[in-house]
Symmetry: C2
Subunit: 397 residues, 2 copies
């Protein structure tokens, strides 16, 4: 049997990004993820990819930049990064991005305001390409040594890495006889829930639990999406693998109340722990945390949309990540363990044309987890009725 690395690579190429013959495949990787990256390249070329364009991210370069770059160029990104991103869309390329921290705590001692201003390697043109749906893309976990040691600090390095791979194999359903079939099945459940929620046409969603009393208003045409995506040319792909969520783009002006994060989040290489955010008229007006608050505040202050919600996502307990009760310190995995919201840019595809102009626009998109079995999720209809959506993290609709 092929190794877990080869099986994950094949799943990402053949099913996740669904790379087509003749496509250019962009791979956003990082140092420490070389073996999986090379397996992805091999798998893609075997499938007929035209070129596999790999970028290895080195977080130490960001450290040098934040420490030493002149103040006025900290947010500069050379124009060719945006242009190649737009070209990848025009050429109808594919993308695989490998998630997972490379060097945890590397940025802890840096000036957090300067760190927050340097958003590279995030390139704002990706938002355009994703909204235009011209690229079949997939974000997936790329296990590495130091990530494993962060998640399993009590294990020896090799045992930690083995354990992380074991969990990734499980949550990516690679332990099924036919992983793609298992994903198609889960996908159809998520699509069903999304359709029922869309049909209910809620005016708002209310979250209530320990430290949380938050109402997120929806737009008249907000629709729920989950279980997979397709490009404008009809190429099906899984934007996230694993994916256990259904999500929509909320009204950026109607979030009210206070919310306590139910898991740490990692952004800009910083772990934000014990986060509480208070919203007024759609804006995050107060951000408190036990660690990393300044980084998040600096990111949110990047632009007008940074303080508004661009995404609202619901996750039930049937997914494979939540039951592991592991904090992965990786947005992709942690966000698919629990319901969550994201500050910053919204997804066009989750609203009708007439509401598109109203969506939150921002250079950032920062997810944080707000769901757990203790948080009740309730839909509020346009008539003010309350309908249970999630209780004990189980669908009620």
């Amino acid at each position: 049997m092929a190794s877990p690395v080869e099986r994950l690579a094949d799943l990402l190429v053949n099913f996740g990004a669904n790379v087509q013959k003749g496509q250019i495949l962009d791979v956003g990787s990082g140092l420490g993820k070389e073996e999986l990256t090379r397996a992805i390249a091999g798998s893609a070329y075997k499938r007929g990819a035209k070129f596999v364009d790999v970028h290895y991210w080195d977080p130490y370069l960001k450290r040098e930049r934040v420490q030493h770059a002149p103040e006025d160029v900290l947010d500069f990104v050379p124009p060719w990064y945006g242009e190649r991103t737009l070209q990848l869309g025009e050429e109808r390329g594919a993308t695989i991005s490998l998630s997972g921290p490379i060097e945890p705590h590397l940025f802890d001692d840096l000036d957090q305001e300067r760190l927050g201003r340097d958003v590279f390697p995030r390139v704002k043109e990706w938002t355009t390409v994703i909204n235009e749906r011209t690229v079949n893309w997939c974000v997936a976990p790329g296990p590495s040594d130091k990530w494993a040691q962060l998640v399993f600090p009590d294990l020896e390095p090799q045992a930690a890495l083995d354990k992380l791979w074991e969990q990734v194999v499980h949550i990516c359903r690679l332990d099924e006889d036919d992983p793609e079939a298992a994903w198609r099945e889960r996908s159809s459940v998520l699509k069903g829930v999304a359709q029922r929620l869309t049909d209910l046409r809620f005016d708002a969603i209310h979250f209530e639990g320990p430290g949380t009393n938050l109402t997120v208003g929806l737009l008249p045409t907000s629709r729920w999406i989950g279980g997979g995506d397709a490009t404008i040319d009809g190429i099906p792909h899984m934007a996230n693998l694993p994916t256990e969520e259904i999500f929509t783009s909320p009204d950026p002006e109607r979030t009210e109340g206070i919310v306590r994060a139910t898991k740490p989040l990692t952004t800009q290489g910083r772990i934000v722990d014990g986060l509480t955010v208070r919203f007024e008229a759609g804006r995050a007006v107060q951000i408190e945390a036990e660690s990393g608050a300044e980084t998040l505040r600096a990111m949110v202050a990047q632009d007008e949309g940074g303080a508004r919600l661009g995404e609202l996502a619901l996750v039930d307990r049937e997914g494979r990540i939540g039951p592991l009760d592991t904090v992965f310190y990786d947005t992709l995995l942690d966000e698919n363990a629990a319901s969550h919201v994201a500050l910053g840019s919204a997804y066009d595809a989750a609203v009708g044309d007439e509401d598109r102009e109203r969506l939150s626009r921002s250079s950032i998109h920062v997810d944080f987890m707000i769901g757990s079995s203790e948080v009740d999720v309730t839909g509020i209809t346009r008539d003010g009725d309350r309908i249970a959506v999630l209780r004990n993290a189980t669908w009620q609709i």
Copy 2:
């Protein structure tokens, strides 16, 4: 005292590429050279660089491509690589490229014809930018583990790496109290020899030694260059560090005879050993070698200029590389140990405007060493007189 890594980084940034405040610095690095790369980034930001744009090359990706990519896309490079290269010139950026093999022998078992067709990460637009002199660039050695073990196979890995660093420190003159002053002194010697050779206006250069009887014709305006460069905006830089050569662009139609390489060369990750090349009317018509001949033949067949000489360079025994008597399996270091020629593209700056159209143009530029203390180098004047240029690798002019 700073570590060798930091001292080399500072020399490359401050003197080699001579990075200016506000410039974008492109760094062509490779896996295994991370520490030096990060030190270069830190040094450049301290000097006021606007952005340090690093690419880590992973030769295993080329291996996957050559093994598995469809036949018709092996020479494809996404358009954004050329465009970013031209933009770097338009923006007046700087470049540092780190040389030295990353994973020797990784390509030995591949189909050599397919390997020869995949020239990435070479991007042909670099030739344009270099000829336009819009970028202050520097190629320098980037020591790494496996390179050290290739050069010093009898030493333990750490001892080999230490020894390679020790030699790099020496040949980069970092063991001098003031390395930049030492380089300015060597540079002025090379500039003096280049000027005297140019003033002699030779019609051809003749090489004669064991297995070699080669005449390389020069163009009427061929001029000799060495000891440093400057951009069109007058920024001085060292295109190679170390540099011990003086070079010119020959007449692509007037090389005749046979030449035996005096050192192995490394191209496309393949070591070409025991090379002999026969030229007729400027073209390499026969290429033989103990290893790697097919790779070189495939490269030369890329285009019309691939079989013609684009460079002729002379090196004396006063340089620091030759006396070490080490084969580095790295063109930068080995070519500065001995006189050499290059197949492929020529340098515009080495001829007058009226001869520019006649130069060799190619997507390749492959140097190989033809000089040693046993090879006599003689200039032939336009009247047919013979004037000794190098005897026992010592300048006679």
